[in-house]
Symmetry: C2
Subunit: 188 residues, 2 copies
């Protein structure tokens, strides 16, 4: 961030009164440009004992498998974003069941908000950002080809929940690549 | 958003290939500037049957009561942001217990992520952004002086949870001022 998006002037790194850290500030326009984490909304979908995954057709990590998920827009709810992203990436119509995971991926500057969801029919196929969309039996999940460690973790937990016949919700953080800290899990 | 924050050139509203809506785009720099919702992290703190609220010393709505909460930064987890904001606004040291609420406030373009938390000692006092910090018995909450309808809703639910002796978690949306849609609540 180098220029003010409101007036085009060069930005300075300044610490405002009552603030704790330097921010990109426009002295001409008098505006502080904050840089905040982005929200990724998506779905974890179980269908007849299998889980739906999408193979990425876009960077980063083309070919990696992941949940249908993407950036939340400003004109929709979190649930609407999760349903829309599932439609765009997997051409799958789903209904939200419950909140499943809220986790911060530090190295991506993203907060994932993932819902359990149910397919409304048997149809799905790759959208423009997916190479393939497939239902995987938990024993057949391509663990070494997943998008990044937090996706491994959520799928391991989902597999365990399916085996135990429970649901759960958690909030946690994925930091420094393959270290995942999961806190505050509870089952119901 | 009028100028490219990377090169200072004027932005155009363009629809990219595979995108569904116009975005502020820099044709010189070849960059699309997305506008995404912000995350507000905070705590709902019960102490000896009372709930801790802060009276706002800053705009908007100076004098309104609300939960200690604020913008998540890019260099911290959601839980760290909730603990930090509670320290900054209420000079209160807390420990996170569990996720409590994830809700989108459409008119603010914000997603609130609120944790149940416990005071680590009896000390609290107004930080620079608060006029007053106080523990309220649920029967004494100033319902007509709360920050906005979603705060009323979370406090009504917390009051009900305390009476029933249960915990709960939900995901929902607050839209158009005083209409609150709450979905996917479960108790444990």
């Amino acid at each position: 961030m180098k220029y003010c998006s409101e007036c085009g002037e060069k930005l300075s790194l300044l610490i405002a009164e009552n603030d704790s850290q330097p921010r990109h500030s426009c002295t001409a326009y008098g505006y502080v440009h904050y840089h905040n984490p982005n929200i990724i909304a998506g779905c974890i979908i179980e269908h007849k004992g299998k889980v739906l995954l999408c193979q990425r057709a876009i960077e980063p990590k083309i070919g990696a498998w992941t949940l249908p998920a993407g950036f939340m827009e400003i004109d929709e709810s979190i649930e609407e974003a999760a349903v829309r992203e599932t439609w765009e990436e997997a051409n799958a119509k789903v209904e939200i069941d419950a909140l499943y995971s809220v986790f911060h991926v530090a190295e991506m500057n993203q907060v994932y908000i993932i819902y359990r969801a149910t397919l409304l029919d048997d149809n799905f196929s790759p959208g423009p950002e997916s190479l393939e969309v497939k239902l995987f039996d938990p024993s057949e999940i391509p663990w070494d080809q997943l998008f990044y460690p937090a996706i491994n973790d959520i799928l391991q937990r989902f597999k365990s929940d399916l085996q135990l016949g429970v649901s759960s919700v958690y909030s946690g953080s994925s930091v420094k690549g393959d270290v995942l800290v999961v806190d505050h899990t509870f089952k119901y």
